[in-house]
Structure formats: structure tokens, C-alpha cells
Symmetry: D3
Subunit: 137 residues, 6 copies
């Protein structure tokens, strides 16, 4: 059950087909998950979202691929996005996340959620020492 | 301005003093930031929170120290905790985060926030392929 | 499965019956959705919540009915309320939301979630030019 | 105070200059607000974020410009992003939002936040009638 | 700095005056805090919001006044509402909240934030034993 | 479906067994709910989380056990944690929460969510009168 009606043959639209093919080629897998199938109701939205996801998550960058997946899980869990927690935990595991790393991720994001709550409830004033201009200039 | 009254001499309490000394020793710095000063109104809460933070963030574990700071920033930004974003960005920079890594962190957490929003608005059903039991046997 | 026990015959309570009848009359439909059925465990809570929802969403006001539904979806998706996303997307569609408008809504709320994340992670200082007093006086 | 060090002359970088010039041309104003100035520390992030914001918010689309600003405010307030609430309320006012529309916006997003909370606390099961497949065929 | 222009003499409007007078009488204090002053730009919004706040927070009900303030702080901290955390912590203290109760509140809401994060990241399936229908018959 | 693979016999690990036995003894019940079963994949995480939950929720403290459960529900609903809302509503009911108290809880947390939204959308400046230093000297 979704807020968008299911398309039985989304790939009859050539723009959708092109994106799905690129997803398969990028991931070296035939599987196209429901997130992309849902977005296919609007080919422009599908194209732009996939282009950004591919650029950020699949291109080489300053952070390694597994770290990026862990960050994705951290944001998704904090936002309470069940779908995203599932899809990115599976992705992290596919990229080599061990059980020990998974547990460590959980320890850090649980601690962060806890101290976020404390800092906000106490309305702790920001220390002047944290000003970025003190580091760079 | 905080929701807790300022203590002018918190370290006259020996339990507070012991925690502050351990913070200084662990960080090899004289600086004790406002978060710990605010928590000092209740020594038990201070002790337990510091013990957990030290165990999770300072002890060697499956994830390296910089990755743990990046995860902390990701959760803190998603929760909208201004204090925590400031303190952990400063901590990440102190642990070597480059501008390129900072920009990459921003790209990933912004993309995650965006796709979290899309997945939730579309109520995308979770794919059976993401079930953890399929990975572990 | 809910946190409130199901009432098999909620309309035997005349206060509940009166609210359900008003819901049916206002919407010109026999359907009373689960949200109101759940609230029926406390007739006062049901009456007040329905009175507010009717006044805000059904009475003529400065914003048109479809715009109000789109705003409702925007808040509900951001809060991660699966039930509310479903019910208000159905309501928006019943009020004429097209697929193109749905896609545009998704583009805007996804962009907003993304730049909210960036602005919070960067702790961007508010420009003086945004002060409301500059516009009105 | 921000998490990124202030650049005194960001427009000496030609990529930053090009984006700022496009912001000024698009908005027919000399003013470039702090959000874009903060992002200028990474020209790629600046370019991509501006390109998306311009495409979604300034190009003609299925929703009118004021409705899109109201949706932006709705998401930003729900996410607790002070900067974004300020900047997009100013933008909405510049696009003609009246006090009556502002008050109506507040009524809807406050009601939505309230019923989101109720639906989540009650864990109301989603009605089958809300299934999108029932609407489209 | 607010998103609404300051009214220098809001009580020249008799509807605003009536609400402010009722706030003063209910609280037995001359002080009317900024939240109500901000809402005064729209007398209808002010009247309805105050009526609800008075009915819920000031009328005798199944929960005592201090417990209701603690719950208000819990929600406000979780939503990251700085204003509300300040105003309701002050209200709780005025209603007798001790430092020990304040610390206990912090312990509980910090633990809840932490285990919320864990349960969401793990996507723990809800136990059938928690079904409300099992309790009520 | 969870992000962690199911362990068929988690109590063959003596550390897991010890925690589960303590959960049963503390609650005087044979039932160990899924949250603890999920955490059992990492005995250290299980032990520390249970130790904190037991200390905060089961030990005598400045707030009574039912009030602590109500606060837990308030945070969990605001964070949108379906599992936690279910488990702590069941716990509150087991500790004596009446339907009238449940309805009152809902009234307060719904009002708080609403006024949080209003205060954030209006960016209401914090009154100097709320400064904690004014109360304590």
C-alpha cells in the first residue's frame, strides 16, 4: 500500500527504462527496488533523484562508500524513515559492514540522540571556542 | 541563557571535579565545554553521561574516531541540535576532517534527508530483498 | 493493531454518534476513517479535535482547500506520520490534485528537507534582511 | 557564528561568482543571503544546490510560486530550521502572502502537527480506502 | 527577530485585550509572554490557541499540573523548540519542579530518545503482546 | 522483518542469558519483548542498554513509575517510533494508566506539538523572564 498507484509496466516509458537500466548497470544487479519504482510515476523526478543519488553515493569522493552508507542510515533512523533504514542497512551490509561495525554505528547514533535531547532540554549555550573562524583564520 | 541556573564554582563538588579532570585528561586539553558544565547540576547524570560518551567515542572500536564524529554530526543536524552540530563539527575538524570531507558529509546527509522525505511521502513498501534474514542464513 | 482497544459499537455513545454524523454530512460520504474511530474512546477529545479540523480544513479561508491539503501532507511527511500521509494524500486527490501537482509537491518538500539539513549543519546565521519588522513598519 | 569559516571575498572564485550572479539575475536583486554564502566554501555543492533550488522554485510548474513557498515554510517549521523559516517567510511575503494567508498557514500546520501526534500515539491503522490503487484503476 | 512584525500596542484590539486579561487572571500575574504577543497579529488564532491551552493545562484533569508541564517539556525538547523548552521549564519550576525531578525528567527523555533511535534503526517488529485489544477484552 | 537477522537461540550466549534473566526477574514475567531480542546480536550493547533502562525506569527516583512511562510515550510519539509507542503504552497501562489519563496525555502532547509548531514558525524570541538564573539566584 502506497500513496502512488502501482504501474504494472513502468519501463514502457523510455525515460524510466533508461534510468532503470542505469541503476542495474551501476549496481551490477538486475534488482530495481521499490523506491525507484514509486518515483517512476514522474520521469523527471525519477531522473533527477537518481542522478543525484548516483553522483553522491557511487562516484569516488572524499569519504569511502561504506562511510557514506553509515551516514545515510544515521540520518534515516533519526528521521524515522523505515524504508530508508531497511534499504541502506542492506546496502551497507553489501558493502562489507560487519556486525561489530553495525553495533558501533548503533552505539554512536543512540548516544547522539541522547545528548541531542539533553543539550536541547538544557538549552546549553554554544561555546565561543566552537566558532569555525577560530580554526581557519 | 539556559534552562539550568549557572553554577559559579561547579568543581567544589568532588564528583564534578573528578569528571572534569577526566574530560581534561582524555582530551589532553584544559577546556571543558558548556555541555558538561550544564550537566554538573546533577553529578549522577554528569557521571553517567560522560562515562557513556567516553566509552563510545574515545575507546578503540570497530569504527574510527573521525567516522564516529561524522555520524554524530549527521544525527545532530537531523535532530536540529544547534549546540551538538557546533561541538561535533569542531571535534571532527580537530580529528582531521578536511573541507572536502565536510562537503561530502553535507552532500550525503542532504541527499538522505531528501530521499527520506520522498520515501515517507510516497509510503514506499519495503522490498522483501532487504530482509536481514536473507543475508545471514 | 493500535494502542487503543477497538470499540465494536462506538456510536452507541450519543456524543460519538453526533460527531460521526457531522463527519458524514460535512464530507457527503458514509465513510468514517480510523482516525476518528480511534479518538472515539474519549468523546471530549473526539469532539474538540473534529471541531478544530472542520473549522480549519472545511470552512472557507484565505487559502483554498487543495493548498491546505498539500500543506497537511508536507507536515505529515516531515513528521513521518504514515497514517496522515495516506489520509491526506487521498483527501488531496479527492480535491483534484493531479499527478503533476503531486510530483511538484514532492519536489518542493524534498528540496526543503535537503536545504533544512544543509542550513542546520552549517548553522547559517539569519540575515538581518529577513527581519519581519523591515517589511511592515 | 557558523560551522564554516567566513570567506571574506568568496566571489574571487569564478564558479562562486557565476552562481551569485545567477542568483542576483533570477531574483532581480543585489542581495545574496547567507545560505548561499555559507555553501560557497565548496563550489560544487553551491552549484548543484542552487541549480536544484532554481529549477524547483523559480521555473513555472504545476503549483504556483506562493504555494511552493508556503510548503517550504511548512517543512522548515516542522524540521525546526530557524534559518529556513525566516528566509522562506520573507520570500512568501515578497511573493504576496497576506497576514490572513500567514495566519491560515499557521492554523493548518499547527493542526497537522497536532493530529500527526495523535495518530502516531494511537498507532491508528491505515484504512484500506486510502490505497492509491483504488483511485487510479 | 521574528517572522511576524512587532505590534507596539496590541491591546488596542479589544479581542487581544480580552485574551491578555484572561491570561493575566488565570496565571495571577501581569506578565504576558512573547508567544501570546506574537499570536496577537491574528485575534482568531490567538483566541483559539489560548482557549485550548487554558482548557488543557489549567483545568483540573486526570493528570496533575506538574506532570502536564513535564510532558510539555518532553515533547518540546524532542521537537527542538527552544522557545517552548524555556517557557515550559520555567512553568514547571513555578509549579514546584525540584532539581531532582528536573534531572529525572532529563534521564527519562534522554533514554527514550536513545531507545527510539535503536528501535528504529533495528526496525524491531512490534510484539503481539502489546496489542491494546489484549488488555481491554 | 528487521534490519538484524533473527537469532533462533540467543540465550545460548551466557551474557544474553544473564540479561534476559534479569529482565524476567525485574518485571516478574517470563516475557522478553522483541527490542531486547534484537539487541542480543551484540551482548555489550544489550547489557549497557538494559542496565541504563533498569536504572532509570525501575529504580525509585524523584518521579513515580507511571509518570516516567507517560514521558516515554510523549518522546516516542514525537519521534514517530511505532515500536516504542506500543511497548510503553502497554507498560503504562500495566502500571495503572486509566483511559482518562491516556486521553489527558494525548491532549497535552497534541497541544505541545501544535504550539511547538506555532512558536517555531513565528520564531518567537525567548523572554528574558524565562532565564533560569532569575530563579536560582
Amino acid at each position: 500500500m502506497s500513496t502512488i498507484a502501482t504501474r504494472s509496466e513502468p519501463e514502457t516509458d523510455p525515460r524510466v527504462r533508461a534510468v532503470f537500466d542505469d541503476i542495474r548497470a551501476t549496481r551490477k544487479s538486475d534488482f530495481v527496488n521499490n523506491f525507484w519504482r514509486s518515483l517512476a510515476f514522474d520521469p523527471d523526478l525519477l531522473e533527477r533523484t537518481w542522478a543525484e543519488a548516483k553522483a553522491v553515493m557511487s562516484a569516488p569522493s572524499a569519504l569511502d562508500p561504506l562511510t557514506k552508507e553509515l551516514l545515510y542510515i544515521a540520518v534515516s533512523a533519526t528521521n524515522g524513515c523505515a524504508y530508508c533504514v531497511h534499504s541502506h542497512t542492506a546496502a551497507a551490509r553489501a558493502k562489507g559492514m560487519s556486525d561489530a561495525q553495525h553495533a558501533d554505528l548503533l552505539r554512536v547514533i543512540a548516544l547522539a540522540a541522547k545528548t541531542n535531547q539533553l543539550a536541547t532540554a538544557l538549552q546549553v549555550p554554544v561555546d565561543a571556542a566552537f566558532d569555525a573562524d577560530r580554526f581557519d583564520g
